[in-house]
């Protein structure tokens, strides 16, 4: 069975994992969305996340004290993502549900480790907007490390943003960069920002698909298809036919005019 797989198929499966996602395999509108949307979806929902709540082990293999060699397998902690995570920007933090055990002869106790949330004002230069957002200390540190909110949102992979709000803001930023609609009454600022974020300028068509959830993407695909396959009124077809006829037969327009006026 392995031998049957062609090299090109193998390569595509490994370099474009988003093409094989189950959600795009059906016979619905979602299966027909453009490839860049599938890639975005993979980056958002499926791609591995940065280690936040645990310290990963280094290397691929390790030597045990008894001389045995073992592979290193880093299994991330399971995270709970409540709906509030998408109303703020938690910077990759989430709730951990588990147990703690303080003494050897004490039964383990259930515990939730919840990040410390705070409300703060963030400023986006591209959108020229002050926002009241729920964040964590980690978000603020990441913003400082990236030298600004825009840099943080644009440079961080969507999987690590881990928030629908952040992805929507990124979509808005990418759209305004692609269309050049930022700072309408300040051309100097606009030019400077377009220069600074040059590597984030993508085609408008891609930016319009970026950051949509599956429901929105399916709706968008349906609308596009409906528009493409809308029936053309017969009068338009007949008009086209008549123009063709006039062109091919070279009818004298003066004669026809005379006939019409006589009647």
């Amino acid at each position: 069975m392995n031998a049957r797989v062609s090299a090109s198929a193998m390569r595509e499966a490994l370099t474009k994992p988003w093409m094989a996602l189950q959600i795009f395999q059906g016979n619905n509108a979602l299966s027909r969305v453009p490839e860049h949307y599938k890639k975005f979806y993979w980056e958002w929902k499926v791609a591995p996340k940065a280690p936040v709540h645990y310290i990963p082990e280094e290397g691929n293999f390790k030597k045990l004290p008894n001389g045995e060699i073992q592979p290193v397998q880093n299994l991330p902690l399971k995270l709970l993502q409540p709906k509030e995570i998408h109303e703020g920007i938690w910077g990759g933090e989430a709730i951990i549900k588990g147990f703690y055990k303080r003494k050897p002869y004490v039964r383990r106790m259930p515990h939730y480790w919840v990040p410390t949330l705070k409300k703060t004002v963030l400023y986006s230069e591209i959108l020229d907007r002050y926002m009241n957002v729920t964040v964590t200390e980690r978000t603020l540190n990441l913003i400082d490390e990236n030298y600004g909110f825009d840099n943080y949102i644009l440079n961080t992979p969507p999987a690590d943003l881990m928030s629908e709000l952040a992805v929507k803001l990124r979509r808005e930023m990418l759209l305004s960069l692609a269309q050049g609609t930022l700072h309408p009454d300040n051309p100097a600022k606009r030019k400077e920002l377009l220069n600074r974020f040059e590597k984030h300028i993508i085609p408008v068509e891609e930016a319009e698909w970026y950051g949509l959830n599956t429901k929105e993407a399916a709706t968008k695909q349906k609308l596009i298809e409906e528009k493409a396959s809308a029936p053309v009124p017969l009068k338009e077809a007949f008009r086209q036919e008549f123009i063709e006829y006039l062109k091919t037969n070279k009818v004298d327009m003066e004669e026809i005019k005379g006939e019409i006026t006589e009647r």
């Binding site: 094989a20 395999q25 588990g98 147990f99």
Partner: protein, 290 residues
């Protein structure tokens, strides 16, 4: 590497469930390919908040195929670190406007994160000291329009502090004297402020004594800071004797009460200085509280 690729691919065919497949794909992707798929920023990590560790190890699992389900013991965690209580690193910013007590335009300063974010960056008094910004604002000091910058970030604050103080000048009760700069210098020193004599400017009219009419009356002394900023300080005459029997009884908290001016032309300024200090007690206030 090739073997794992082949294994991964075999998996693709055996279980065509989306999540398992992509999990395998992500794991088997070579690093270069991974970097092409995932932006480079992914590999940076900055850790804050709760960092936990499993108390029991998870048994080794196969790189392909379904993983064995987790047991309750795999959710037993130990705290490694709570980074919210860690000391916060300062943030480096470039000032684009002068900030009192911190620096003037173009200075690169390190401040605590909360102050940097909420009091400097958000109101637009500063920008992050990123490599691009350091280059962009490198000539900010020369091109700055604000030429009259304070001599030091602390000069204005020092002047403000000094002007709220009352300095008590202890003068002799018996021997004749005239107030000289060194008297004032010593009085400042007794109050814990070291001032060179050149920095002090006394009133033009001489004050001579001993004269008990001058007891507990004020005059203004000008103190120059760094040869630039000027602060007016209230000085009060107090007659002092070595003999305890002759001494005027000490008045507690005399610096909190208003005093009469020696020179009537200074009255207004002295009153303004007294009002600046929130500890000053005025006679009308005292009556109201009674």
């Amino acid at each position: 590497m090739l073997r794992s690729l082949a294994q991964g691919l075999a998996q693709l065919h055996l279980h065509s469930t989306g999540s398992a497949l992509s999990r395998v794909a992500a794991r088997t992707l070579p690093v270069q390919e991974l970097e092409a798929v995932i932006p480079a920023g992914y590999f940076i990590q900055a850790r804050t908040t709760f960092v936990l560790k499993r108390k029991k190890k998870v048994e080794l699992h196969k790189t392909t195929g379904k993983m064995r389900p987790f047991r309750a013991r795999h959710y037993l965690y130990e705290m490694v670190e709570d980074t919210n209580v860690r000391k916060k690193d300062p943030v480096k910013v470039i000032l684009t406007k002068p900030v009192e007590g911190l620096g003037s335009v173009g200075d690169v300063v390190e401040v605590k994160p909360h102050r940097a974010r909420n009091h400097l960056l958000l109101p637009g008094l500063a920008v992050y000291a990123s490599p691009e910004n350091l280059e962009k604002y490198s000539n900010l000091i020369e091109t700055s329009e604000i030429k009259d910058q304070p001599s030091s970030p602390f000069a204005l604050r020092t002047a403000e502090q000094l002007s709220t103080r009352v300095i008590s000048l202890s003068m002799n009760m018996k021997n004749p004297w005239q107030v000289e700069p060194w008297h004032v210098r010593v009085a400042f020193r007794k109050a814990g402020i070291i001032v060179p004599e050149e920095a002090l400017t006394l009133p033009a009219k001489p004050i001579t004594g001993p004269d008990l009419d001058l007891q507990d009356k004020e005059f203004l002394v000008k103190v120059k800071i760094n040869d630039k900023e000027e602060a007016n300080v209230r000085c009060r005459i107090n007659h002092y004797s070595v003999n305890p029997r002759e001494r005027i009884p000490w008045k507690a908290f005399h610096w909190e009460h208003v005093a009469e001016p020696i020179f009537p032309e200074e009255a207004e300024e002295l009153d303004a200085l007294a009002r600046k200090n929130r500890h000053t007690r005025f006679p009308e206030q005292e009556e109201a509280t009674m």
